[in-house]
Amino acid sequence: MKALSQQRRHPLAVLVLMVLALLLTGGLYAVATTTNEAKAQTQTYTAQDVEEGQKLFLANCSTCHGMDGAGTPSGPSLVGVGAAAVDFQVGTGRMPMQMNGPQAEKKPVQFDDEQVQQLAGYVATLGAGPNVPEQEYLDVAEGNAANGAKVFLANCAMCHNAAGAGGALTRGKYAPSLMEVEEKHIYEAMQTGPQNMPVFNDANITPEEKRDVITYLKTLETAPSPGGFALGSLGPVSEGLFVWSIGLAVIIGFTVWLTSRSA
């Protein structure tokens, strides 16, 4: 430790620290944005699905949502939220919630695809609600990215950022990044309005327009950034941070070098 502390005034110490900090943030970002690989599923639920789903529900969800899914003071009613809401919330790992906080965050999925389907099947029986989307509305090859961009910029970009990188809301809530999100989860989020996101039902944004939005987002994902490094596409936030930390550090480094004695 003594040797390390003696090196702290070395001219390269700042550089080493900066590289370490960049590696740390980059690594955390990579971990935070890993995709989950669930596959799309069928639209209908058998009686067996519903029965198994009820068992799963009683064991995992009923503490907050009530034994009959009608809600308790700790969790909202699930009557009428539909299979789409379950497929989104459970399929992205947001539910079951780990702890109370400003909002339920995306995390590793707790159930396998079959269990998610069984849960969705059970909750769908509680009351009529949106079903999981049909495959034809998730097919990016059929969508129109240009129209999707128009719809996205009018309805979604104010919270999720024009590049779909996400953004902050009030009191710790935030709109998450839409990059690397599965097609059906994007669709279901628009359909059901999870947490503080408003609902964009089929009368507002038609299924075809939803497909266009998904196509636009997938386009953003695959298209390289023509302007060089995108820095998370967060606009002035990350660019400002870069300039104020890295840029200013470099300038300070040069001034120190300029006025130092040469050996």
Binding site: V151, T170, K173, N196, V199, N204, A223, P226, G228
Partner: protein, 363 residues
């Protein structure tokens, strides 16, 4: 002015003759001059020379890189084409080479010259003595010059001359203040009117289709423009009109909303329409949190409470968002009852007068 140091200790000592008997510690003077490695070791000097040359070569390489990027990289085909990203990738490479080339070209010269000066140019230490304090005679002389100017100009004897000069100097900048006004709209009345009027349908942005009241379910939000916006051409102020008339539409549980008596018939079964233009500096307030019923402005975090007629609960905005009175037409589509009852958007010079006029018209 200065004297060359001969390198011996104390050679540059500042005179201390003026000090009193209260001398607390001896003047340490300047530290001894240490020759640089490049002054005593010719090998080190040679190495420094090579380093400077290398830096200049880096600069040359950077400038060449710029021209390789400028003339050598061809960007053919549409940008942002997902099926064929070659054009976008080429553009990325070109931008990278242009930026990197200019940066290295400047960086190499700058760093090279500094390194040259620090290692190879002469290493004299100079001491510059302080200026002497000005003497009383010099002050008196300067004062007498000013007095002479004052007397000879005759300002004292000819007050009319002085007063007209002051008047001219005060008035001369005023035309520029007048020109400032012309930067804004010449007719401020355009700020109080929008395209909304009685019977104008609320349509979706961007598709332009009308909205049935039944389509607006609980928790959903619609980004809305007036139907007659579509008839305005792009060169006829389309964007200006759109910027004034954008509206956010959402359905709230009627039991949870506080509605003032004079606005009771402005909503349709809990469907409310509010201007999307922030009353602070006019950003679009469209970040709607459907559980808290808060509208957040992304520019300065002004937060509006939908439950209480969009009153400001946080941030710099001074007024609630104006509400658009709406109703349903014979076909079941949502229509405006009238224009906004107050000017939308931020404060402007005649806003107060306009509010009075609009209230007078409404009553």
């Amino acid at each position: 002015m200065g004297s060359h140091s001969d390198g011996t200790p104390q050679s540059g000592t500042v005179a201390t003759t003026g000090t009193t008997a209260m001398e607390r510690f001896p003047d340490p003077g300047l530290p001894p001059h240490r020759p640089r490695l490049t002054d005593v070791d010719s090998k080190a000097a040679k190495r420094a020379e090579r380093q400077v040359v290398l830096l200049f070569l880096i600069s040359i390489l950077g400038s060449i890189l710029f021209f390789i990027g400028y003339f050598g990289v061809r960007v053919d085909g549409p940008i942002y084409d997902v099926t064929d990203t070659s054009a976008t990738t080429a553009l990325w490479l070109q931008n990278l080479l242009l930026g990197l080339g200019i940066a290295l070209g400047m960086f190499g010269i700058g760093i090279g010259i500094v390194h040259w000066a620090r290692t190879l140019m002469p290493d004299h230490e100079l001491v510059e003595e302080r200026h002497e304090v000005r003497t009383e005679e010099q002050r008196a002389e300067a004062q007498s010059i000013l007095t002479t100017i004052y007397d000879e100009s005759g300002i004292k004897r000819r007050p009319l001359l002085r007063n007209t000069l002051i008047g001219a100097a005060v008035l001369a900048p005023l035309p520029f203040v007048g020109l400032l006004k012309d930067l804004g709209p010449t007719n401020l009345a355009v700020l109080r009117q929008t395209l909304w009027d009685e019977g104008v349908r609320l349509v979706r942005d961007p598709s332009g289709t009308p909205i049935r009241a039944a389509d607006v379910t609980l928790g959903s939000t619609y980004h809305v423009v007036p139907e007659n916006l579509a008839s305005i051409g792009h060169n006829e102020g389309y964007l200006d009109e759109k910027a004034k008339s954008v509206v956010l539409l959402m359905r709230l549980d009627p039991d949870t909303v506080n509605v003032s008596p004079e606005r009771e018939d402005w909503n349709v079964d809990g469907i409310f329409a509010y201007s999307k233009v922030c009353t602070h500096v006019g950003c679009p307030v469209a970040l709607y949190e459907q559980q808290t019923h808060h509208l957040l402005c992304p520019c300065h975090q002004s937060t509006f409470d939908l439950v209480n007629e969009c009153e400001v609960i946080f941030g710099p905005a001074a007024r609630p968002l104006p509400q658009l009175p709406i109703t349903v037409d014979a076909d079941g589509y949502l229509v405006a009852r009238s224009d906004f009852q107050e000017p939308v958007g931020p404060t402007y010079s005649q806003r107060g007068t306009h509010v009075e006029e609009m209230q007078g018209e409404a009553n």
